[in-house]
Symmetry: C2
Subunit: 199 residues, 2 copies
C-alpha cells in the first residue's frame, strides 16, 4: 500500500461513482487535497444531508425532500393528466422544457424478464389502484423505445383497458436537428407510422 490509508479509502468511495476508475478517483482525491478545508467539510455535509433528507414522493415516486413533491402538491398542475416515466431523471428532463403542466408517475424501473424485474418490482400498482380515478382523463406513457419500455407500456395499457382513462404515448420520429440522411431505418419507419396529418 503506497497511499496513506485515508487516501485509499477516499479513492474507493469515488470509485463507486459511475465511470470513475482508479485514475479518475486518484485525480479526484488530489483535487480534494487541494480544496479549502471548509469546502471539503461542505462536501461531506452535502452527502450526509442528501442521505438524510432525500426520499420518494408518496404520491408519484419522484425524488424529493418532502413527503409530497412540489409537483404533486402544486395547485397550478393539472392532476388529470399523468405522465408515466421510468425515473426521476425523466421528470427533470420534462420539467426543464417548462411545457408540461400535468403530473408524473415515476415507475423506478422497467419490466424486464431477462433481468428478473417483474411488474410488482416497479411502482405500477399504485398508479392503477390509487391514482387513476374518475378525475384522471389521460395517462401519457413516456418510456424509452426499448424492449423493456414497450413491454412496460403494453402492460400498463392492458391494466388501464377497463377504465375510462385515455392512454397515449410519446410520438416516435425524427429528432430535432437531425439529418434524415443519417437516421436509422427504424426511426424512419416509426416517423412514417406516427406521421401527423396537416390537412
Amino acid at each position: 500500500m503506497i497511499y496513506p490509508e485515508e487516501f485509499e479509502h477516499l479513492m474507493e468511495s469515488f470509485q463507486m461513482l459511475p465511470g470513475v476508475g482508479e485514475k479518475s478517483a486518484e485525480r479526484y482525491v488530489y483535487a480534494v487535497d487541494s480544496m479549502e478545508n471548509d469546502k471539503i467539510e461542505e462536501f461531506a455535509k452535502n452527502l450526509a444531508q442528501f442521505k438524510k433528507n432525500i426520499k420518494r414522493c408518496s404520491v408519484c415516486g419522484h425524488i424529493t425532500n418532502k413527503e409530497i413533491c412540489p409537483i404533486c402538491s402544486s395547485d397550478a398542475r393539472d392532476s388529470s393528466t399523468i405522465c408515466v416515466v421510468e425515473d426521476s431523471k425523466s421528470v427533470f428532463m420534462f420539467e426543464k422544457t417548462g411545457k408540461f403542466e400535468g403530473v408524473y408517475h415515476v415507475l423506478g424501473g422497467l419490466i424486464s424478464p431477462v433481468d428478473e424485474v417483474n411488474p410488482e418490482d416497479i411502482n405500477i400498482s399504485s398508479l392503477v389502484q390509487k391514482r387513476v380515478n374518475d378525475n384522471v382523463k389521460e395517462v401519457i406513457i413516456a418510456l424509452n423505445p426499448s424492449i423493456e419500455g414497450e413491454t412496460t407500456s403494453l402492460y400498463i395499457q392492458k391494466l388501464l383497458e377497463k377504465t375510462n382513462v385515455k392512454v397515449s404515448r410519446l410520438s416516435y420520429g425524427i429528432p430535432m436537428g437531425a439529418d434524415i440522411e443519417y437516421l436509422d431505418p427504424l426511426t424512419i419507419i416509426r416517423a412514417i407510422d406516427d406521421r401527423k396529418f396537416l390537412s
Copy 2:
C-alpha cells in the same frame, strides 16, 4: 430550481472535482441516490477523515497521515540520494516502479514567472538549507521537461553548485513502446544528446 435543494448542493460539490460538469455531477448524484445508506455515510466519513488526517511530511513534503512519511522514516531507504519531484503524484509514480531506493523531496509546484510562482513559493529552501548536508551524495532532479521544470531545475542546480553533492536529472529520450517514426523531433534531439555509450 427544479431539483431538491440537497440534490443541487451535492451536484455543486461534485462539480468542484476536475473535469466534472453539470451532466456528470447529475449522474454522480443519481449514483449516490441508489447507493446503500451506509456507503454514503462511509463516503462522507472518508472525506472528513481525509481532511482531518492528511498532511505533509515535515521532512520531504510528501502527502501522508503521519508527521514524517513512511519513506522518510524507513531505515531501508538510502537517505543519501534525494529525488526532487514536483508533487506527491510523482512520488507515487516512482514508488509504483519499486526500483528507487532513495528518498524524495516534494516541491509542491514549479517556478513559473508567468503564473507568479517564485522560488520562495515552493518547497526549495528546506532542500538546500536542511536536507542537503555532508551525508547526501546525490540529488536527482525529476521534473517535467517543460519551461517551468527546466527553470526550476536550473535554479536548484545553481543553489547546489557550492556544495559537494552531485546533481543529476532524469534522462530524456524515447519512451518505451514508442515508434521512432511517430516521435517529435525534439524528443529525438534529446535522445541523441542523452545517448548512452555501449562500448
